[in-house]
Amino acid sequence: MLTNTAFEPAGQEYVTIKGIKNGLVFKLADDVQFDAVLGALTAKLGNGSSPFSSGAKVTVYVDYGSRELTPEIQDAVEKVFLAVGEIQVKLYQESEEEEPQASHKLLPKPPYVYKGTIRSGQLIEHDGDVVIIGNVNPGAHIVASGDIYVFGRLRGYVHAGASGNVRAIVAAAYFEPMQVRIATVIRRSPEAYSHPAEMEFAHLEGDQMAVEKMSLLQNFQNLLMTDKAVI
């Protein structure tokens, strides 16, 4: 818990701490004497509220606000941190804060579920898995960063793992796509291809694409699991 110290007048904090994705930001007030700020920082790191008691190596970002930066000031601040533990001190920049939002995109998103026919000229683009409950007609496009599942006839263009995920799959109840792409591998449906009356899925084996019965999806996923374990 951050509380005011003797060095800070009530109602005004010289040092405020904020968490960002990469670590902590120490915002130092820029409208008071630097010595007072340094004192407040020392006090804050010294008391029980210090976040560095674990002894792990951490990085902190220091936001000097509009204060004119001199090597002396930076040295002084760095010394205060080094006195507490093995801490890397970096200058805070606005871009550090934007990053947590960008990284948010990497989190798995809920699948996009579409009910109905996707017709020629229509495009479904989604960052994540896409589920179509209906037909995907010739000339329709689906682009997904994750897997694509079609509960109907797949006869359009599909691109799974569009952002490079080679483990993405394309599955369809009636698998007859014009073209399948997984990550960067492109295949078109063979001209004469007899369709079994069961759901199929396409996946990558190295840089080759394979189409198999849905019942083998389990094996494929187990394979992935062992892959992961090796890595």
């Binding site: 017709r119 020629s120 000229g121 229509q122 037909n135 007609n137 010739p138 000339g139 006839r153 006869r155």
Partner: protein, 264 residues
């Protein structure tokens, strides 16, 4: 208040204008008051198919620009009491007709007519968007060819995006013997791709071409198969349940023809 129906296809040359002319005439024969509207500005030919090309004084762009009133641009078909048409402009550009002007025209026509049939230009650009505004229903015409079906699919998607109720499908120029031999797309295949209600199937019939060249809709002559097909479509539009023409029956018809020729 009547109903505005747009006849569209995406691909050109599949029989939009022929279908508009024949369905309109068939509806008029059933006693409905019908107005045909040609929106293919710059490439009008509904007037030619109807045989009314020498009677155009004002066209749809004249109405839109205020050059004339709607009544002045209505061309009455002398053969039928209840059949009128509005021609497209031939010397103007597609952009001469705006969606708002079209909407106003269709709205006014619906006050006076039971059915307003709008003949849509090929393509999906401005002309298409103008033609479909104000339509309460859409008829999509396709032929049993991959290219036509693909374009029809695209158009259906665009109609859905415009919140026009699910279109009805007409499959035109079916050659039963080619379908039977698997050389032409099967009707069931087409419906499974387009997933629309089938309004009718029209067999390929040379009579249609002959009649169109004489400026006479095929339905006027009741003897041909295509004529019968268009009459059935018109009856389905007014809510009369008519069974679909049976392809099997037709192949039987063709067989009989062959037999007759063989005997003769």
């Amino acid at each position: 208040m009547g109903e505005a129906i747009v006849v569209t296809s995406g691909k050109g040359g599949v029989g939009k204008t022929t279908s508009t002319a024949n369905i309109g005439t068939a509806l008029a024969l059933l006693g409905k008051k019908v107005c045909l509207v040609d929106t293919d500005i710059g490439l009008r030919n509904l007037d030619v198919v109807m045989g009314l090309d020498n009677r155009i004084i004002f066209d749809i762009v004249d109405i839109a620009t205020g050059n004339c009133r709607i009544e002045q641009a209505l061309i009455k078909d002398k053969r039928f009491d209840q059949l009128y048409m509005i021609a497209a402009a031939q010397t103007k550009d597609k952009l001469a007709l705006s969606t708002s002007a079209m909407q106003a025209i269709v709205h006014k026509l619906k006050m006076d007519f039971d059915y307003v049939l709008i003949d849509c230009p090929a393509g999906i650009e401005h002309g298409f968007r103008v033609a479909i505004t104000g339509a309460d229903q859409a008829i999509v015409v396709t032929t049993p060819e991959q290219a036509a079906v693909r374009d029809a699919d695209r158009v259906i998607g665009l109609l859905e995006a415009e919140k026009i109720p699910p279109a009805k499908l007409i499959i035109n120029r079916i050659r039963p013997h080619m379908v039977k031999n698997g050389e032409m797309l099967d009707i069931d295949d087409i419906i499974s791709v387009l997933s629309l209600d089938l309004l009718g199937i029209v067999p390929d019939d040379e009579q249609v071409i002959k009649n169109a060249n004489h400026g006479e809709p095929t339905v006027v002559k009741p003897d041909s198969k295509a004529s019968q097909a268009y009459r059935n479509i018109a009856r389905r539009i007014i809510g009369d349940p008519v069974p679909l023409m049976n392809l099997q029956e037709q192949s039987g018809f063709f067989k009989r023809m062959k037999k007759m020729m063989g005997l003769g």
